[in-house]
């Protein structure tokens, strides 16, 4: 367990040494504040538009941070040859994968706290209230979503040879699921024959990442969700993350680490 936390600590240090997070945070903050300064029809009480824009930027930024951070972990260790002394020490391949996963996930958690703190301050300056429960649910679900994404990208990093192709494919898959995942079975029902059955099978097989996107509920001030559903979605996310990490380990343990 110590090995896992030591590896995770290195990944977290890497996050604050690199510029990605700072650039994305500053960009999100500047764009949100600029949009906040725009007055539509001399009305200074319009807030949902700013909330929507800020949350969209947060989702894009954290997705980029999660994918790029996770995608470079194993390839970077191989390219710099540090993976050999790492595995020569009493660190198993499973511990390496778990350490990298927890490092990326915790790093994303830190970025989420910073981003949502900014979001909370921005919106409360307009609305003068802070729906803490809904915010917490939104952050938690976002973090569970990122756990699945990181596990998916780690699997990609042991399957695909190039880091860039892994990042691009992961980004397309994640955005595709967010956009169409909820509707795939209707698409399958509308198709005839074998094609329809394949689409329906894909619908059941994919991780339903769209569940974790609670932006509409946060933007439009809907009441908080029953915690039992949040727990259910968390369990689903944990199972899927475990499955993806298990698959990553299965592929990685058979991989010959040569240059």
């Amino acid at each position: 367990m110590n090995n896992i936390f030591a590896l995770a600590g290195v990944v977290i240090k890497e996050l604050y040494r690199r510029k990605d997070f700072y650039v994305l945070f500053v960009m999100t903050a500047v764009v949100s504040l600029l949009l906040g300064s725009v007055r539509f029809f001399n009305d200074d009480k319009i807030v949902r538009f700013i909330k929507a824009a800020c949350l969209l930027l947060i989702w894009i930024s954290t997705l980029v941070i999660a994918i790029t951070t996770a995608a470079r972990q194993i390839p970077a260790e191989r390219e710099s040859r540090t993976i050999f002394p790492l595995l020569a020490k009493p660190v198993s391949r499973w511990e390496l994968i778990a350490g990298k996963f927890f490092g990326c996930w915790l790093a994303c958690g830190i970025t989420l706290v910073v981003f949502y703190l900014f979001f909370g301050l921005l919106t409360s300056s307009y609305e003068h209230h802070w729906p803490v429960a809904t915010f917490f649910q939104g952050i938690w679900m976002h973090w569970v979503f990122l756990a699945i994404v990181i596990a998916l990208v780690l699997l990609g990093s042991v399957v695909f040879t190039a880091q860039s192709s892994n990042a691009t494919i992961s980004f397309i898959v994640v955005v595709g699921i967010l956009f169409a995942g909820r509707h795939l079975h209707y698409v399958g029902l509308g198709m005839n024959g074998f094609g329809g059955e394949i689409v329906t099978a894909v619908y059941y097989a994919i991780p339903h990442l769209e569940w974790y996107d609670m932006r509409d509920l946060v933007i439009h001030d809907w009441a908080q969700i029953d915690w039992i559903y949040i727990a259910g979605a968390t369990l689903y996310g944990a199972l899927y993350t475990g499955l993806l990490l298990g698959l990553t380990w299965m592929v990685f343990r058979r991989k010959t680490l040569t240059l």
């Binding site: 725009v38 539509f40 029809f41 001399n42 009305d43 009480k45 319009i46 807030v47 949902r48 538009f49 679900m141 169409a180 909820r182 509707h183 079975h185 209707y186 698409v187 029902l189 619908y203 059941y204 339903h208 769209e210 569940w211 974790y212 996107d213 609670m214 509409d216 509920l217 933007i219 439009h220 001030d221 809907w222 969700i225 029953d226 559903y229 259910g232 979605a233």
Partner: protein, 286 residues
């Protein structure tokens, strides 16, 4: 040698910029639509986004409850809606959801997933209806010829938010881009009539709207017949507010020809004739 070449290229770029800049500005000035940052960034392709932004305003009016391209068509349940904060019990909500565009869930994934996005049909209350305005403003920037955008924004500004100045300013902007629009003139008339209580100016705007409608009709553009009725209704109201019964009689006769219930208008005509016939019924000069 390299430095010399780079200096020459820079000088060529500088010269070209001085020549092209004024010409590009001249070209932009010829086109009424080429104002604003969006126009500079997107060109004519921005019109493709205008309709989507208008739809986004409707999404906000329904607090995120809106069919996607994958969903079924809207049902009666989707059209009615409750004011925000005035929501039904859970069982009634569940029954409504199953009758809505969402339909009953097909499997456990869909049933579970419905807890994480809005599934109850509500409408924004008057105070919060301002949240639709940014999308309408951007839709107008994207496509200045989408008349519905100006009329819808004006409806919210003048009726629920009591901002007639902003409504008029936006409508005037729309009128500059669409000088033949009777819809915008009718809405401008409403601003003067209902918000400013100025029937004289309102009547002029309604009369101009009627002329634009007739011009479009004569040109075979098939303007909406309902709009003619609304314009005539506005004229009659302005006449009544000014006690101009002679003109009101003429406008009522025209309205009767297009009204869905002409008997009600006929009754109004008889009452107006009675007022005109009564001694001292019509003010002098009217």
């Amino acid at each position: 040698m390299t430095r010399l070449l780079l200096s020459l290229v820079f000088a060529a770029c500088f010269t070209l910029a001085t020549v092209l800049d004024s010409r590009i500005h001249d070209l932009q000035a010829q086109n009424d639509d080429s104002t604003g940052v969006m126009a500079a960034l997107l060109g004519d392709s921005r019109r493709l986004f205008a309709n989507q932004l208008f739809v986004e305003a409707d999404v906000y009016f329904h607090s995120g409850y809106y069919p996607t391209m994958f969903d079924k068509k809207e049902t009666d349940i989707d059209v009615k809606g409750e004011p925000e904060g005035d929501q039904k019990g859970k069982e009634a909500q569940k029954a409504d959801v199953e009758e809505s565009f969402l339909g009953p869930p097909q499997d456990w994934i869909e049933r579970f997933g419905r807890h994480f996005f809005p599934t109850v049909h509500t409408h924004l209350d008057d105070e919060r209806s301002r949240e639709v305005l940014p999308w309408l403003r951007m839709a107008a920037d994207m496509d200045p010829h989408q008349i519905e955008t100006y009329v819808t924004a004006s409806y919210w500004l003048r009726r629920t938010l009591n901002q007639p100045d902003e409504a008029e300013q936006f409508l005037r902007e729309g009128l500059r881009a669409n000088p033949d629009s009777f819809e915008i003139l009718l809405e401008l008339g409403y601003v003067d009539d209902f918000n400013r209580h100025d029937p004289k100016d309102a009547r002029q705007l309604f009369a101009l709207a009627l002329r634009k409608w007739e011009k479009q009709d004569a040109a075979g553009l098939k303007p909406a017949p309902k709009a003619r009725g609304e314009i005539l209704d506005g004229l009659v109201r302005a006449d009544r507010e000014q006690n101009d019964f002679k003109q009101m009689l003429l406008d009522l006769e025209a309205l009767k020809a297009v009204a869905p219930h002409p008997e009600a208008i006929e009754q109004d005509i008889q009452e107006t004739r009675g007022k005109l016939a009564a001694p001292g019924g019509a003010p002098p000069g009217k």
